[in-house]
């Protein structure tokens, strides 16, 4: 009698588990919340979240300047009903009513229309590890590419010329190793080759390399100052085994006309990989985002700054050209969301919000 009772109990339990489990437990899954598709006003800030290496979870978040709210954590998914699938989302550039999101490790650029963020195309083959896109006109853009060579061959970078009407690469121009950001001044494209110590100068009328300019070690970014000079931050080189062997960074500036006479001044530290130079709307303030904090200088300053303006290590920094507000990305974790923190131009914190994994850049629409 006892045994039959136990048997019954057991059978009921088995049945419940076997046939109920899928329904029962699946019902416990969290809701897959769909963010609203943004209606779009000209107050949008797009935050590019790099995501994890070798994982297509790079994304773009949408921040609304008026309400001060994140309107969509993943605006591409909200607008298109599918994932962006960007493996290391590096940057986003806005050209007119188009947004270009560069996915570095899966070698594609997703093109979206703005402000609805609908996918309208991709720029892919023959791009190899694209990094940044810079538009020369409404129809023409340049894209830096790292170009992966079979290990252990040297990695040689190049710049692709892209026809924005057809989203096709029309030409590639060999430059230095690991080219990063570019600057276009007076018909000359200056490309920062982030491994080495040079900038490559390309004549945008012929799309031919004219010359290279020597600056500090490992330049990755450059801006135009209010003084009309090109300002370059060289990140230096960190030696991980012996810090004493690390190479310090430097700031160089030159007038953007041949023969490009460079004034180079050394920093007292190694800014390190990922460091960037940025400027306010009119170029009267330059910001050095480094591993030692953010430094501010004016092009007219006699000496380089030695104490940080904001003593915090950011993953990214951009200045809103409308307000000169500083938008910074904080990489809290590789396993979870990072934060966006904004600062007034005087350095006072303004706002903060949770965004995606490793916020690596901002685009203002």
């Amino acid at each position: 009698m006892f045994s039959s009772l136990l048997n019954q109990l057991f059978r009921r339990r088995i049945v419940a588990l076997a046939f109920g489990s899928a329904l029962l437990f699946s019902a416990c899954d969290p809701d897959s919340k769909q963010d609203p598709v943004p209606d779009g006003r000209n107050t949008n800030v797009y935050i590019v979240n790099e995501g994890n290496f070798n994982t297509p979870n790079g994304s773009v978040s949408l921040y609304d300047k008026i309400s001060g709210e994140i309107k969509a954590l993943d605006v591409f998914k909200a607008a298109n009903g599918r994932e962006l699938l960007a493996d290391v989302a590096t940057s986003m550039t806005i050209v007119g009513e188009r947004g270009y999101i560069v996915a570095n490790n899966n070698s594609k650029i997703e093109v979206v229309s703005l402000p609805d963020f609908k996918s309208v195309g991709t720029i892919a083959e023959p791009l190899q590890q694209p990094r940044y896109l810079l538009a020369a006109s409404a129809d023409k853009a340049y894209v830096t590419e790292w170009v992966a060579s079979p290990f252990p061959a040297a990695v040689l970078g190049r710049v692709a010329v892209v026809d924005l009407k057809t989203n096709k690469v029309t030409k590639t121009i060999p430059v230095g190793k690991l080219p990063e950001e570019m600057l276009l001044v007076n018909g000359r494209l200056f490309v920062a080759n982030s491994e080495g110590n040079t900038l490559t100068v390309i004549n945008t009328a012929t799309d031919e390399v004219e010359t290279t300019i020597s600056v500090g070690v490992n330049p990755a970014s450059l801006v135009l100052g209010a003084d009309g000079h090109v300002w370059v931050l060289a990140n230096g080189q960190t030696d991980y085994t012996d810090p004493a062997l690390s190479v310090k960074g430097s700031v160089s500036d030159f007038a953007p006309t041949a023969p490009y006479t460079v004034r180079k001044r050394e920093l007292g530290f190694t800014p390190g990989y990922g460091s960037r130079i940025r400027r306010n709307a009119n170029g009267t303030a330059l910001y050095l985002k480094t591993g030692n904090g953010v430094f501010r200088l004016a092009p007219t300053d006699a000496a380089l700054p030695t104490t940080p303006f904001i003593n915090r290590d950011f993953y990214s920094l951009e200045v809103d050209p409308d307000s000169d507000v500083l938008y910074t990305g904080v990489a809290l974790s590789f396993n979870g969301p990072g934060r966006m923190v904004t600062y007034q131009k005087g350095g006072a914190p303004l706002d903060s919000a949770e965004v995606g994994i490793l916020p690596s850049g901002f685009a203002f629409y």
Binding site: L17, K33, N54, N105, N106, V155, T241, G291, A331, P337
Partner: protein
């Protein structure tokens, strides 16, 4: 998986009942009635050497018996654990990287021991469960919870014990198997064994290869085929046990495994042609001297682990040599207690590009294990281990256990189990020496846990034989100094840091019913685990403490199985449920829950041509319902797949 009776207990009791060369615990332990079959398969006359498991009283143990393992003979530890237990294995795909989470901890918190030696890769501090082919071992036991007092470093969330118990006087036995399956799967194995009363030999060889070019659902539409996921792996294992004189026994074992795998890229990423070569050589030599009241044992092991990983743009090669030695002396105290004292030494030598060259490290540990059974119904154990790591203090790691038989009738018994334990994990060589980022001053992780279990067993008083085992375990656990790789302020690389404290509590329930008659055998099992794991401290600046479930730890998991044999036919099926898992520390991202069904059907031709040989044809279907699911984010898993095997056994 039997959560209840450990065959080792039976084995040992049979030895005792036969009244032989006795070095064993008292007869009081022989509580559960012996089943006729266990007597049949155990013709031994001498009790084997006790293993540390004998000192693990009061903890839950899952044992995968030979019947269960037989269905996965050409597969790996990952395959059988995923299908037959509620353990969650993070897996990239079939034959691909696979690691476990036990009781809410990380992959580095499961210790894996092969014949008593830790085989975790010293560089990573974890094992890829796919790289442990089942053909190389005869028995798999899983003991959840911290137990470093017994098993040393890494036994924080649990321990997996791989072993090949010796069977004496078996004569010659052999088996050969070939297998083919979907998506280019091919596998084969050979086993041969011989034993008389003084010598036992066993050799096994196996290989498994697949193209893994299965179709999968692409997000946003389309159904491409998987690329860069082919693999080949092989295993060669040999065990020798030799009785020397009246009291001595020499044990030697060798296990060679090799895997050459393409590493399946994440969905939507560019194929960077990642390829990994893993090759491990494991050699073991031991001598045991067993007297009437004492036993001494000395064992040495030498391992070589090669892991070479390369992509289009990257290459990392490593070669680790591990030398380990264990010595112990066991004394029987009176009729109801036994005490073992011992010491262990480990030497690691690594050549690795990412360490900037050659690195070596020594670790030592001393331990004491006590087992005391004051009455026929009460078993107690207390073990303690003190590890010595270079430059770092490790706390004493005790394990205390109690089992009390509260109810015993002719048909049923109820056992109460209680245990409390500490665990530790020595920092891995990567965590200490990797450049850039490695931190030689990292503290060891420690854990402490408690568990309370009830084990009920029931057996029909009449034939045919029907037995039923049910076990319920509740536990709580805390891990301190949990290591995370974190971006170091002012640097572009990550560094390991002792960042977190993690708390876990949960329930584990299992029940199995077995029915056995002359030509029929039927068994059903159900197991469920509730695992609640969250961080309770975090030293990262700006980190918030919520009770959010840890990423990749499903709250609910369940495994059901039914297997039967009727005359020459056999059939079976499993269902496993894996609850949703968060994929990020915070935020909404998660992988949805899934249920997988497997089924098999087989037929055996016995007594081929009048010889003691049998041929078994077995068809297995994996993912019967054709689920599209992911175990690990963006890694495609195969749809429904078929495998057919033909196995010839001699005796």
């Amino acid at each position: 998986m039997s959560c209840a009776t450990n065959p080792r207990w039976r084995l040992y009791r049979v030895g005792l009942a036969l009244g032989s060369g006795l070095f064993a615990l008292p007869a009081a332990l022989a509580q559960q009635p012996l089943s006729p079959d266990s007597v049949q398969v155990l013709p031994m006359v001498r009790v084997e050497v006790e293993r540390p498991r004998q000192y693990a009283v009061g903890t839950r143990v899952l044992t995968l018996d030979s019947t269960t393992l037989a269905l996965y003979r050409s597969g790996s530890l990952a395959d059988v654990l995923a299908a037959r237990t509620p353990l969650y294995l993070k897996s990239y795909g079939p034959g691909q990287l696979s690691s476990s989470t036990m009781r809410g901890t990380s992959a580095q918190h499961t210790a894996i021991l092969w014949n008593g030696f830790n085989v975790m890769l010293p560089t990573l501090g974890q094992n890829d469960f796919t790289l442990l082919p089942l053909s190389g071992v005869q028995q798999v036991e899983v003991q959840p919870g911290p137990a470093s007092g017994l098993y040393g470093s890494g036994a924080i969330g649990g321990t997996v014990l791989l072993s090949s118990p010796v069977s004496w006087r078996q004569g010659f036995r052999g088996a050969a198997q070939i297998e083919v399956g979907s998506f280019g799967l091919g596998a084969g194995s050979l086993q041969a064994g011989f034993s008389n009363q003084r010598l036992a030999l066993r050799i096994s060889a196996s290989y498994r290869a697949a193209q893994n070019n299965f179709p999968y659902d692409f997000p946003g539409g389309g159904r491409p085929r998987q690329t860069n996921a082919a693999f080949w792996q092989g295993s060669l294992a040999q065990d020798i046990a030799w009785r020397v004189g009246q009291n001595g026994q020499v044990q030697a074992a060798a296990w060679l495994t090799k895997a050459d795998r393409q590493i399946q890229p994440a969905i939507g990423t560019q194929n960077d042609h990642a390829r990994q070569l893993d090759q491990s050589t494991r050699l073991l030599l031991g001598y045991e001297h067993t007297g009437m009241r004492q036993q001494s044992s000395v064992r040495v092991a030498w391992f070589e682990d090669i892991l070479n990983y390369a992509t289009d743009a990257f290459r990392s090669d490593s070669r680790v040599h591990t030398t380990q030695a264990q010595a112990s002396h066991t004394v029987r105290l009176g009729t109801s207690a036994s005490l073992r004292l011992g010491a262990e030494a480990q030497h690691f030598a690594v050549r690795m590009t990412d360490y900037g060259g050659f690195v070596s490290e020594n670790r030592f540990a001393g331990f004491g294990l006590l087992r005391y059974d004051p009455t026929a119904r009460l078993r107690l154990s207390a073990t303690v281990r003190q590890a010595m790591l270079p430059g770092r203090q490790v706390p004493l790691t005790p394990v205390l256990g109690l089992e009390w038989q509260t109810l015993r009738t002719s048909t049923q018994q109820l056992l109460v189990k209680v245990s409390a334990a500490r665990g530790y994990r020595a920092p891995t060589l990567n965590e200490r020496y990797y450049q850039p980022g490695g931190d030689p001053n990292l503290r060891p992780e420690t854990s402490q846990g408690y568990e309370l279990g009830l084990h009920h067993s029931w057996q029909a008083p009449t034939q045919p034989k029907l037995t039923w085992h049910t076990e319920l375990t509740a536990y709580r656990q805390r891990v301190d100094n949990w290591v995370m790789w974190w971006p170091k302020p002012g640097e572009s690389f990550v560094s390991p840091r002792n960042l977190r404290q993690v708390k876990t509590q949960g329930l584990e329930a299992s029940s199995s019913l077995q029915w056995r008659a002359t030509a029929t055998f039927w068994q059903a099992r159900a197991a469920y685990a509730y695992t609640r794991a969250y961080k309770s401290q975090d030293d990262v600046s700006g980190a918030t403490i919520t009770d959010r479930q840890l990423l990749y730890v499903p709250l609910h998991t369940a495994a059901l199985s039914a297997d039967g044999r009727w005359h020459r036919w056999q059939a079976g099926g499993t269902a496993t449920f894996t609850g949703y898992r968060y994929t990020e520390d915070t935020g909404p991202s998660f992988l949805p829950s899934y249920t997988l069904l497997d089924a098999n059907l087989g037929y055996t031709w016995p007594q081929l041509a009048g010889q003691p040989a049998a041929l078994t044809l077995l068809a297995q279907v994996r993912n019967l319902t054709n689920q599209s699911y992911q175990s690990y984010l963006y890694r495609a898993q195969p749809p429904r797949a078929v495998q057919i095997s033909l196995r010839l056994t001699w005796r």
